[in-house]
Structure formats: C-alpha cells, structure tokens
C-alpha cells in the first residue's frame, strides 16, 4: 500500500503546513461550486429587483439590462414597507429583551443555586427545545385570543419569548457555571448578597453569552412566520414576513417588484448576520453540543 511510503516524509512538522496553506485547487473548485449554489437564488432575487417585468418574462434567467432602479425606489418610498419594518423591529427587540432578561435570571438560578427540583426545572426547559411552536400553534392561537391580544404585537412577542427560553437557558447555564466560585466567595466576603453578585458580577461577565442568545432570538423573531400568520390578521399590524407574502400575492403579476420587496426585507437579517457571524455560529454549535 502507498501508506508504507509515508513515514519518510513526516507530515507532523509545522513548516510543511505553512507551505501547504493554499491547499489543492480541487478543494477551491468544490468550495466555489458549493458557494455558487448557495448564493445563486439569493443573487437571483436581488438582481431580479433591478429588472423590469418584460425582461423577466422574455428571459427569466438573464441579467438586468438595462438596470432599473424603479422597483427598489418604489418599495423604499412606500409606507407599508416601513410600517412592516417597524413592526418587525418592535417585535424583534421586545422578544430579544424578554428572552434575554428572563433567560439570564432563570439560568443564574439553574447554574448557581442548589435546591431540590433544580434538575426537574432544567429538564422542563430543555424539553421545550424538542417542540417548536408548530405543535402548539392552534391552542396558542386560542389562548392569545382569550387574552385579547389578537392583532397586537404583544400577542406575538409573549409566545416568542416563551419559545425562545429553552435555547437561551441551554446556552447560558454552562456559561454561568463557568464563572469561578472564588469570585462569588470574594463578593460574599465583601458583603455582597447573592442578588448583588448577580447584578454586579454575573450580568457583566455573561455579556458575550447574552449577546449570542439575544442575536439568535432577534433573527428568529425577524424571520418568524407561523405565529404572526395566526395572530396578526390586520394589515397594519403585519410584520415583514407576512408583508412579503401579502405583497407577493397582491402583486403576483409584478414579479420584479415582488423581488425588490423580498430582497429589501432580507437586508436587516443579513446585516445582523455578517456583523455577528462568529457569535451566531458559535452560539448555535454551542447550543447543539450542550
């Protein structure tokens, strides 16, 4: 076997690694093809917004020729779009604040208090991870209606906070456990109560974990569709995903405008993602690996 040859040129030496750094062209080729496949549909949406309908009809897969900025300009000038951006922003920010505040407080208890029922409490939240909102949506809709929160963003925000808690808690508990005990002891010796320790030490120290969970909650809320679909039926209360879909069915003949509306609505999530890519990826993988 070819393996027998290997020991004569040990690969373990570091300098060799540096020479290898460019890797083989095949790797780049496969990576390039994969990325092209990932981005193709996104580019189609964005470029489609710069075309007009006759271009799209005549050559569905072509490039803009000439470039047409009217669609984007029209969407950006429309009140509906900005109202939906506003609604999505309110829902996203309120959900994020709620999830992070409640999640951090509960995680602190789970990570640093010893009491009977602690394991049960952790399991309760962890079990929530297995059941996304879909299974509970019908009764959730009834509950929100009984609470008189139909067509209000609060009716979306409260359930989103509740369903965001499991991931948040699972990410934050290990984070808080890692805060050295000595810090707590030192704080206690200095006469700080445990609540004081929470507000003065835990909150600032856990900021990176909090940011991760906050971003996850925000992006999830920004993209959420099923819950707003059930709760918000009044156009004025629509969030962007509902707005995009309503726009797409209302202007189904005006493909170019639909594409412009669609691509504008994904910008905030994309900006958020590029800014915090490391934290989002780290948070997701951290959550998954427990």
């Amino acid at each position: 076997m070819a393996v027998l040859e290997a020991p004569t040129r040990p690969r373990a030496k570091r300098p060799l690694r540096e020479r290898q750094e460019w890797g083989s062209p095949a790797t780049y080729f496969i990576a390039f093809v994969f990325i092209a496949l990932c981005l193709g549909p996104v580019i189609y949406i964005v470029l489609g917004g710069f075309r007009d309908n006759s271009q799209i009809t005549n050559s569905p897969a072509g490039f803009p020729n000439p470039w047409n900025f009217d669609n984007y300009a029209e969407v950006l000038a429309s009140r509906t779009f900005w109202q939906q951006v506003g609604n999505s922003a309110i829902a996203g920010i309120a959900t994020t604040l709620g999830v992070v505040t409640l999640g951090l407080m509960a995680s602190f208890i789970l990570a640093r208090y010893t009491f009977a029922g602690r394991g049960a409490m952790y399991s309760l939240f962890a079990a929530g991870l297995m059941f996304p909102m879909t299974v509970a949506i019908t009764p959730l809709y009834i509950l929100v209606r009984e609470l008189g929160l139909m067509n209000s963003l609060a009716g979306v925000i409260l359930p989103q906070i509740a369903f965001g808690l499991p991931v948040t808690i699972i990410i934050l508990v290990p984070f808080l456990k890692a805060i050295p005990n000595e810090l707590e002891e030192a704080a206690a010796i200095d006469g700080t109560s445990r609540l004081g320790f929470f507000f003065r030490m835990v909150v600032p120290l856990s900021l990176p974990g909090v940011v991760t969970t906050g971003i996850l909650a925000f992006v999830a809320s920004w993209n959420s569709y099923l819950l707003p679909l059930f709760i918000l039926s009044d156009q004025a209360s629509y969030t962007l995903p509902l707005g995009v879909q309503a726009f797409a069915s209302q202007y189904s003949v005006d493909t170019a405008k639909v594409l412009a509306f669609t691509s504008l609505s994904m910008i905030p999530a994309l900006i958020f993602f590029t800014l915090f890519e490391r934290r989002i990826v780290g948070g997701l993988t951290g959550a998954v690996k427990g």
Binding site: C38, S59, G62, V219, V281
Partner: protein, 331 residues
C-alpha cells in the same frame, strides 16, 4: 418549591446534579433559607410563568379541545370522545401527509448528511478564505423561510428562471412543471430544503471537526496513515456525536415542516402536488376550516409522534453522548 437543605447550607441537594455551592457560610442560616427561596422565586419565577403559560399550557389545552367538536367560539360543549382521533387515523389525506413527512425525514438525512460531512472535511483543510466561505454557506440558513419560499417559487414556476436557464443552454427538453407535477414536486421541495439547511449541517460539522485535537492527526500521520485512513478511523468516529445531534435536529425539523410548503404550495395545492405535511394538514383542517377541536387533535397526534420519535432517538442513539444537554437531571 421545597427547600430541604441540611443545616450548613453548603451541601448539595439530593438530585445528583453537580451544583455549585457557596463555600462561605452565610450569617444567619435560617434567614438564608427563606431568602434563598425568595431569590429563586424572584429570578426563576417569571421565566417559569411565561414558559408554562405559553408553551406547556397550550399543549395541555390541545389535549383538552381534541376531545370536542368545537368551532372555536364559546365554551367547548360538544364532547365527542376519541372521534376526532378516529377520523384523523382513517383520513387518507392524513396517511398522505404521514408518508410525505417520512419521505422528507429520511431524504433530509440521506441527502444532507453525507454531502455536509464531505464538505466539512474539505473545508476543514487549511485553505485561504475559510472564514469568508463559512459566512457565505450559512446565508441560506439565515434568510427567512418566506423569502426562500417566494424566491424558489418564482424560480421553479413554469415560466421561471430554472426553465429559462434550461432553455437558454439548449436543454429545453428538460423543462418541467417543477412545482405542480406530483411526481416532481416533493423532489423540488427536497432540493429547496437541502439548499436552505445544508449550510447549518456543514457549520456544525466544521465546529465538531475543529474540536478534535490536532495531536491525534499528527500521531496518525507519524504512524504512516494516509489521509483517507485518518478520516475513516479518526475523524468520522470522533465526529459521531455531532452527526447524531444534527440528525436529531433534522428529524424534529422534518416532522414540523410548515413554512416552506405553505408559502410555495399554499394550503390546498400542497395536497394535490404531494407536498403536504402534518403541519399544513393541521392548519388547513383546523384553523382555516374553523374546526378547532379537530385541529387540536391533529396537534396532539403531531406532538405524540414527535415525542415518541424524540424519546426513541434519545434512548437508543443519543444516550451515548449527551450526558449533559437534554438529559441532565434525569440520570
């Protein structure tokens, strides 16, 4: 919440969890006890209240309403026992959605798993621009289902860009009704699902690969193992836990699939195109037609199917490696 702490206030409670105990004895231990209880209630209380009211309670409500024929207004009075469940289990439309969900579940694992592992192995090599690549392949995952649905819907429609592209490269004979042909629609759906979620799998696997210590590869290389031998005997086994967790998430996701199907195929076309899922069935037969009792019963069936599959998977597949995440406290 009972608090049966031994007098010192420093001993761990009996649930076997490794808990951090305050090593410093606090002044006034009796006041410590109720104080601690107060702190627990104050800090964990709000989260528990919100979680129980909006996650646990609705599931219980579904169980209750599932036994009624109920149009969603006023108190539910028309008790029908297990009738709703009998109708569900005998409805051939429900058998269809079960088949679709099963198909999606298996194919998601079979398509995404191997491709994602190979891509992760490739991208784990020392190549330039790796962090940029990581950002780019994750973009489909971060875009909302609505946008993905509308974009792909427009691309795959009969006069869409996919058929246009086929025409312009001279493969016009391959043009199809990607979305409405019942023999093709579910494959189109699989393409869209793979496109949307494979980046997540790759990123997970990359993170898993990076947690394998370099020394193992170096030792294997010194012992003369080839690249593929190293991958087969070291990388893949050590990547096992990550793959198993990913598969779990993928399975649960497949069982809950709703947004993409609902947006692309709408609630009625989905069943004729052969892409309907349990969730779209629930919405179409529950809320849309105003039969909330029946919709709740469908939710309960979905819940039970997911629960059983999740428990079986945890018991037989995950039990080896998650001595923390989902099973803590139940050891």
């Amino acid at each position: 919440m009972t608090d049966k702490q031994p007098p010192r206030g420093t001993v761990t409670a009996g649930n076997g969890a490794r808990a951090v105990s305050p090593a410093v004895p606090r002044p006034g231990r009796r006041s410590t006890d109720w104080r601690k209880l107060l702190e627990i209630t104050l800090l964990a209380g709000p989260a528990i209240v919100v979680f129980v009211s909006f996650v646990i309670f609705p599931v219980v409500l579904a169980g209750y309403y599932g036994f009624f024929r109920w149009k969603g207004f006023g108190p539910a009075t028309d008790f029908v026992g297990f009738d709703n469940y009998l109708i569900i289990l005998q409805d051939s439309a429900f058998h269809d959605v079960l088949r679709h969900n099963g198909f999606i579940l298996v194919l998601s694992l079979v398509i995404q798993g191997p491709i994602a592992i190979i891509l992760a192995l490739l991208l784990n090599q020392r190549i330039r621009g790796r962090s940029l690549i990581r950002v780019l392949i994750f973009i489909p995952y971060i875009i909302s289902e609505v946008i993905v649905g509308i974009g792909w819907g427009l691309m795959l429609q009969t006069s869409g860009s996919v058929n246009g592209l086929l025409e312009s490269v001279g493969l016009g004979a391959l043009q199809r009704d990607w979305l409405s042909d019942p023999s093709l629609a579910i494959w189109s759906l699989m393409v869209i699902i793979s496109w949307k979620y494979i980046g997540f799998a790759v990123i997970l696997f990359l993170a898993g690969l990076q947690s394998i210590p370099d020394e193992l590869f170096e030792a294997a290389a010194i012992d003369g193992a080839s690249y593929w031998q190293i991958q087969r005997t070291i990388t893949l086994p050590l990547l096992g836990p990550t793959v198993r967790i990913w598969a779990f998430l993928s399975i649960i996701g497949s069982l809950q699939l709703f947004d993409l199907v609902f947006i692309i195929w709408g609630q009625y076309v989905a069943s004729t195109a052969g892409t309907s899922t349990m969730a779209t069935y629930m919405v179409a037969n529950g809320r849309t037609s105003g039969n909330f009792g029946y919709g709740s019963a469908v939710a309960v069936v979905m819940f039970l199917i997911s629960l059983v599959i999740a428990l079986i998977y945890q018991r037989f597949v995950l039990s080896r490696d998650t001595a923390g995440a989902l099973t803590e406290g139940k050891k």
